[in-house]
Amino acid sequence: MKKGFPNHPYIPNSVPEIEREMLDFIGLESLDDLHKNVPDTLLFKGEMDIPEAFGSEYELRRHVEELFSGDGDCKKYLNFLGAGCWQHYVPAICDEINSRGEFLTAYGGEAYNELGRFQSQFEYQSMVAELVGMDVVNVPAIDWPQAAATTCAMAHRKTGRPQIVLPAILDPEKRAIIENFGRATIEFVTVDCTEDGQIDIEDLKKKVGPQTAGVYFENPNYLGVIETRGAEISRIAHEAGAESLVGVDPITLGVLATPPEYGADIVCGELQPLGIHMNYGGGLAGFMATRDEEAYVNEYPSRLFGIAPTVEPGEYGFGDVAYDRTSFGDLREGGKEYVGTQAALWGLTAGVYLATMGPAGMEEVGQTCMQNARYAVKKLNEIKGVRANSAGGLFFKEFLVDFTATGKTVSEVNDLLLSEGIFGGKDVSAEFPHLGQQALYCVTEIHTQRDIDRLANVLARILA
């Protein structure tokens, strides 16, 4: 069969007459004369077993819509899953802006042809800096786990010390990512957590010493608990000459204290709650933040856009700050880690979100999350055998629900909930076996009182 696809809508020069004209111009007989430097032994002579092309855009649309028609999502189902990807309200303006073709299809131009890209990234950096209480924020990293991995590596490079202390309560997938990233140069040490889910201060004192580059902890942590002794943790790290490294969910920061207020030196976290759809996990984007000190700025692997004048008075321009620290600079592998395509569109989106929410919106969303989550805990605790937030720690939007006393496993409970149109919380019984049959529930501003009552009523019924 003759190869090729004449007149394909995406390929203007597949028009045979044009193709002929261009071949004639370069003096070739046919398309087979291209790839002259690919030797016969390397030429692929088979057929790729890939379905023939759809005959029309309409057929593609029908196929994909039908493929996904049986799937559920968090609009069809009432969702209480979080655990690293959270359902918050996405203001319409966020989608409107991040689907603009000008932004969507931009990439690596200069501040002249892509001024909007530079300015929007600078503004995102600036607004997240205000939110987390730091001076400097990077163009986004892939996700929070990668941002946390880089945060640890930055502390290691800055201090020249080998050890990073990680908390016992940490998303196991995030731990795997951090440890895989750092293992060539970093030794990871685990600090215990107390029964209420916080860092065990006595154990921390034993684990921190002259070898410690940094102590990483999260607020709230993976299981939803707010760390109340952050200042003490930072003090212990600092007294040993180590860095205080704090991972944070930024949507908490309209109401919760910023990490620098309890001594953080490097902050990292996840941007997805800030106006980005979950996208089956594809909405994740990480950030790091520090003070504006050369010793920190020089350890970022990411691009950092800075504001600058132009030769025209009154005109804002932008450029790359300290470009040569990155692997795009002259040092290549001698630069800091590596840089490449990551998640800039989500940084832009987070900026739109923060500009739209403003100070009042961020305060209100935090408050609503905390009220709704507290209400859910209260309602669930009214169900016989169910114990929500049984350890009694402070929480923001996520909390553990213990089903052990119901005689059912979390898996069984979630199957029953699913049949009622509800995604129950993430089963953490395999990740933390000592906790028994517990699930991590997430309640945010998108949950109405009716949603929470419905969860409680269904649980009461299926557990009765």
């Binding site: 696809f5 759809f54 649309r61 819509e65 996904f68 000008e102 204290a257 592998e333």
Partner: protein, 522 residues
Amino acid sequence: MKRIDRSKKVRTGFHQAKWDEPIIFELSTPGERGVSVPKASAAVAAAVGDGISDLPDHLKRKERVNLPEISQNRVLRHYMRLSQMTLGADVNIEIGQGTCTMKYSPKVNEQLARLVADMHPLQDEDTVQGMLQMYYEMDLYMREISGLDKFTFQPGGGSQAIFLMASMVRGYFESIGEADQRTEVITTLYSHPSDAAAPAVTGYDIVYVQPDPDTGLPDLEAFKAVCSEKTAAFMVANPEDTGLFNGHIKELVDYAHSVGALCCYDQANGNAVLGVARAKEAGFDMCHFNLHKTFSSPHGCSGPACGAAGVVEKLIPFLPVPSVEFDGKKYRLECDFADEEHGVSKVRAFMGVAPVVLRAYCWIRMLGPNGLWQVTKTAVLNNNYLFKRMMSIPGISAYYEDGNNQRVEQCRYTMEQVTKDTGITSGDVQRRMMDFGMHFWTSHHPYYLPEPITLEPTESPSKKDIDEYVDTVAHIIQECYQTPDIVKAAPHRSTIHQVDERWMDDPDGWAITWKIYNRKYK
């Protein structure tokens, strides 16, 4: 009225949008709101209080966040204006960003990708059977395109995929007890910097095999000189960023294998070879493709993205988890294949960037095997047409023209003759291109070739587009000789004028956020 003269070949009348837009903080008016936020119901508040006053003081935020207060339509207008000052690939003739494969991103894919917006990555498998089927079939397609045996879509970008490949190399050698012996990764000058930088993060020493000065490609003798029992992997792009395909690649791969090393194929430049040459026939053990480049998912100002990484059978246990498997009835997430001790387990959270994978799936399904072949053939045809026209511009040339080479999908040109003649650099010409609504990328750093211009047309532009692009370059090169001051002072009709970058490397002067700008420049 006289007929309006439109005989000009280049857009001398172009002017980019210039809104002179303030920084967003400057738009703030106290009290303005951009969106109203859901409140807890009165009954909820009655049951639990205000939610925050029972927090200890030291856990409460002390001051309101210093964010701008702006009405919704002004936020929208701000970002619409910023978008208008951004020449994405939807707007301009995107030929100039060599190595980046700036092809057309079909709009239907964009709409379909939004079907998955509200899916949570931990949803029960029964509720994501369509999603899992899509991942499963994409794995099968990528196997066909590469000839390798299994793919993961977890890496969130090409560089992270390279990092994954380096991590798998390390895991493999640990599993056979050779990790201590194999401390080096070999790469080439014209492969992406991440082919050096990412393996360095995994702890490898980086060794460069130098190109032959005539062909621009490393030959077997040069490779033998650097490849030894210390070599863990050969990490290479083919074609490299020069647009030259190394026809001797299999000899290098075979030699690397003969000393026990693995070979990793950076296929960021994969648009050159779809359906024409594959990783398998060249003997590679792993490869990665950028779904946001070759497979049309838009670049998004630089992500979100996906580096799809594939391996041969013996390396499947080192892939991250989970994979999608199918038992004939149901698709499910599977971790059983993984080597728990030496496998990589995870490089990115969850299943990677699903909308990017879905867009690539749509793109492949609109092309089929014949269309994929056509994509590559037209991309290479376009580039060779562009090459012949570019090389006819006085002062423009290309290194490694030994009479035998034919470029594949891109080319790194040099305008060193123009610089010698006029003092004007490729950076100057780059800025002048902006005055015509176009641009180009020079090169990765350091510039191994002087005064570089790296162009990659892809299959997307028409012949007319390519002609206009080359006519514009030719027009500017002529200006270099005739009216050099115009070029040196460019841009003139772009959004902004020349940026004064003196403070970008000065810790006392740089301003990475508005807060710092206001602190340093009162």
